[in-house]
């Protein structure tokens, strides 16, 4: 049995790293585990470098159950990058609020990363399901393990029940598609559908698949878990959940629908369009009255998921490349915003927006990062969010969905309003106390990096656009 294991070097590195971290965390005393975070960060940087070198490598492993291609490598880089930032920003938070569990935090993040990396490379429904559950179960534990964090267990049980429920629905859909196509392989299903048959079983399966994946990317009407889990979970976990898990689930969504089911696009496209419109509308409108910054970011995340779905609606190379660009840009913006929330709560602040009053006077740096991230999420030029939205709108315009562009554009205006509410609190109101906020070194570097990247890619997005276009050619 010749298996070319070099194709999965990044996954093997992350697996090895996770087990090494787990074993070392069993051996060292509870209060000396900070080194494990450095080890994980170092390992993840190595993985990132390997992934970058491997971006052009293509191949399949294990009889087509595992696919290595540019699309997967791009999303793997996205996932590894966000885990890296989550660990750097989260270590001190975990030390402060969940004392003694830094080791667990690191290896659970690594296992979740492994799940997400496998997920975007899945070439078969079995791999897909196992990877999805590895990701979900790691996240459930991560959400709930801060028992002393107020409401974390409640968030965990909500996440657990709803995600188990949704994966049951997803699985039922997978089996129905398997029953129709007589294979679980994504390429095999594509061949079957190319023959032109669409039995009712397959249709039912596709509906179940849409709802299952819709849950993972938190699209309306499957978004109900998002605000509660985001609010209750430890903030570094929320940050990771909001970018990496969404990115990975989005990747597998695209792979299944663009690779396995493009043959009957006219059947599922109306459903996707309806979900996209609902997601953009509801996410943006419900974000307006939010009083808690994490809930606000949760609903803004729902809306952003809607924008990313536009890339699927466009159903073209331009659309996929725009969605990939948007997903990566979303990592930097959201990580920046959540990083500020983490730093602020470490300094003793709560997550209520009114507590952010006058943040500008207490820490100009944090306020600036937050402002740049939020404005970029709103899509204000010259920040990267503008470029991302512009590309997405251009892609769907080319397909003739002019009304959809107007809906999305209008809702972007609405989003500016609630993002500016936070900015107003930070810059125009007076703080309750004037103590300056100290930001730890690693956090400072990460936040600065996200801010610079957001600005830089906004002014000069060409390299990333080219990369995304090259990657998107995997599908068409």
């Amino acid at each position: 049995m010749g298996v070319n294991l070099t194709l999965i070097t990044p996954e093997l590195v992350v697996t090895g790293l996770a087990f090494v971290v787990m074993i070392i965390s069993l051996l060292v005393p509870k209060d000396q585990k900070k080194g494990l975070a450095y080890l994980s960060v170092f390992g993840l940087i190595t993985t990132l470098v390997i992934l970058y070198l491997m971006i052009d490598v293509q191949g399949t492993l294990f009889n087509g159950m595992y696919v290595v291609d540019a699309f997967g490598s791009f999303l793997k880089m996205l996932v590894v990058l966000s885990s890296l930032m989550a660990i750097i920003m989260g270590v001190q938070y975990v030390e402060k609020f969940i004392t003694g569990f830094v080791g667990e935090f690191c290896f659970l993040v690594l296992f979740a990363t492994l799940g997400m990396m496998t997920l975007v490379s899945a070439g078969d429904f079995i791999t897909l399901y196992v990877a999805l559950e590895l990701m979900t179960i790691s996240f459930i534990i991560l959400v709930g393990f801060g028992k002393r964090i107020f409401r974390a267990t409640e968030a965990a049980i909500k996440y657990l029940l709803l995600s188990a429920f949704s994966s049951g629905v997803l699985l039922y859909g997978l089996t129905l598609v398997y029953g129709a196509a007589k294979t679980t392989n994504i390429d095999g299903i594509m061949e079957y559908i190319a023959q032109g048959e669409t039995p009712p079983v397959l249709l039912l399966g596709i509906v179940f698949l849409i709802s299952g994946f819709g849950f993972k990317v938190s699209a309306v009407p499957f978004h109900m878990w998002t605000p509660d889990v985001y609010e209750g979970a430890p903030t570094p976990v929320t940050a990771l959940l909001s970018v990496a898990s969404k990115g990975a689930a989005f990747g597998v969504f695209m792979r299944v629908f663009l690779k396995a089911l493009p043959g009957n696009v006219e059947l599922w496209m109306p459903v996707i369009i309806a979900i996209t419109v609902l997601t953009i509308l509801l996410g943006n409108f419900v974000a307006i009255p939010q009083k808690n910054i994490k809930r606000l970011l949760a609903f803004s995340g729902v809306a952003q998921a809607g924008y990313m779905l536009l890339g699927l609606v466009a159903f073209s190379t331009v659309g996929v490349s725009a969605a990939l660009f948007y997903a990566l840009m979303y990592v930097f913006c959201n990580m920046g915003a959540f990083g500020v929330v983490i730093a602020f709560s470490q300094a003793g602040g709560s997550d209520e927006i009114q507590d952010y009053n006058g943040l500008w006077k207490r820490s100009p740096f944090l306020a600036a990062v937050m402002l740049v991230s939020l404005l970029s999420l709103a899509g204000i030029p010259p920040l990267v969010g503008f470029v991302g939205k512009f590309q997405l709108f251009k892609a769907i315009m080319e397909q003739g969905y002019v009304w959809l562009v107007f809906v999305a554009l209008g809702m972007s205006m609405v989003s500016v309003y609630y993002y500016l509410l936070v900015a107003k609190a930070m810059y125009l109101k007076d703080p309750k106390e004037n103590t300056p906020i100290k930001v730890p070194m690693g956090m400072q570097i990460t936040l600065l990096a996200t801010m610079i990247i957001t600005l830089f890619l906004g002014i000069y997005p060409t390299p990333l656009t080219n990369l995304a276009t090259q990657v998107a050619k995997t599908f068409f």
Binding site: M1, F19, M22, L26
Partner: protein
Amino acid sequence: MLVQYTIIGILFLGALAFGAFTIILSRLLQPHRPYPEKLETYECGIKTQGTAWVQFKTSYFLYALVFLVFDIETIFLYPWAVKFQSLGLFAIIEMFIFLIILIIGFWYAWKEGALEWR
């Protein structure tokens, strides 16, 4: 095919009739003299204590959880055990990697005190 199922149906009816017959017959033949001790819930001849709805110690629960996880993983060993001669060395190495991963998990559970009685 249907005929074979009819036989099962007849057997089922026969079993039902036999059970009903014995219960009704004993009800007809038995002397009916109840007294308090006789009407009590029967529990191996010992006097009953409390209600059936009692709380168990969560220690049992923890053992059950650890047992559940490690027990269900053996399901992967069965297909491997049936076929391992034709699968060769590669499958043996793979299975040992799998077992090592399980052992690390078990080590973690042990170290964190999941196996201690509390």
